[in-house]
Symmetry: C2
Subunit: 225 residues, 2 copies
């Protein structure tokens, strides 16, 4: 492949925006409101999956019967708790600079998030991204979210890029699994709070600290201008 085939597909929460820990505590509060007590680190380790899969896996850990009503209540309670914590959410260091660099270098990029547009909007705004002009694929656009590969495949298609030469950047093992299943190249960031080996064992070809660190090493993953 020529370098012009390279594209960059980004996860959003924990990858470009520093929002994972707020999501974690919001889920704890939502579960508690439903009478379910679960250790916070177990919630953290599930974050980044599709919301439906996420709640199903959590509820299986505590052996609670999974009903559509309960799932709907949890999603709503989470959204309410997250709204209270969202004032603390910031872009990650280097996120806007990394995207600006790729734009400048004419390297196509897109965002592919397991969240819905309604919750992604705030994060995109914080990053200075206009969903009307940037390529953004959300949970609303695909049948299955991460760790299924659909989101990244849809993002590459929208860019008109070959998924096989896409660099797929994420902070969670669900991003890395989805990258492998999409046959793209996973790159992990530590900024979601997972360990380096978790990402490497999930299939990351490189792991950086955060977007700023990735920008410093962008030549390693096909990003030279």
């Amino acid at each position: 492949m020529s370098r012009r085939d390279v594209s960059f597909l980004f996860d959003l929460d924990g990858t470009l925006v520093d929002s994972v820990y707020q999501h974690v505590l919001a889920w704890q509060q939502a579960l508690h409101a439903a009478g379910i007590e679960l250790s916070v680190w177990r919630i953290h380790r599930r974050i980044g999956m599709s919301g439906g899969l996420f709640t199903e896996m959590l509820l299986r850990e505590v052996s609670v019967p999974i009903t559509p009503d309960l799932l709907e209540t949890l999603q709503r309670q989470h959204a309410e708790a997250y709204a209270r914590l969202v004032p603390w959410v910031r872009p990650l260091p280097g996120a806007t600079e990394l995207l600006a660099y790729l734009t400048e270098a004419k390297l196509p990029w897109a965002i592919a998030t397991s969240g819905r547009m309604i919750s992604a909007q705030h994060n995109l705004r914080a990053l200075g991204i206009d969903p009307a002009t940037a390529t953004v694929v959300t949970r609303d656009d695909v049948a299955h979210a991460k760790p299924d590969p659909d989101l990244f495949i849809a993002a590459a298609e929208r860019l008109g890029s070959d998924i096989h030469s896409a660099v797929i950047v994420g902070d969670s093992i669900w991003d890395m699994l989805a990258a492998r299943r999409a046959h793209g190249l996973g790159v992990g960031l530590l900024s979601g709070g997972y360990g380096q080996d978790e990402l490497e064992r999930g299939g990351a070809i490189r792991v950086y600290e955060d977007p700023a660190d990735m920008l410093r090493h962008i030549d390693e993953v096909g990003g030279r201008a």
Copy 2:
């Protein structure tokens, strides 16, 4: 050594009590109040150290001049933010059962925390531990907290146990480093949200999920009744 020499020294936050994520967000809010923005995962990776060392290391990452006034303000703001989040703090699964098992088996145990008694009190209460009868060593009792070995050495001395045969249980790499420096045997728990390899590379001889998982495997680390 005979098995009767074995003692168990426990960290508190993230090891017996599910409080790490609340501490992380409380530090983010305290730093923000002081005009300092720092990624949340970087705060997480420093949690569990002595409060003084912790703030000094964080401030060095953002190149902010470290003054006694600033340190005092941060500690106070953190305590206030944590007090707002503390209603969400719970004992970790199996914590009370593990301590009850050790008491029943006549295996000496103690708690050694980098926090001060004023903040540890709430957690001890949640665990049903009376500091008047249990052996609890806090930051108030030693010159240097973790990753220095003083807390664990003081805890073993209070128990009249040999530190060389002490099983030192913690969730952070600072616990594992302090265990190595104390010449005890570090056992890691994933319940603080760190990765297994981080704990193993810090020197853990075994890593369990949480206190409940450790109790299921207690024979592996000298805990047979």
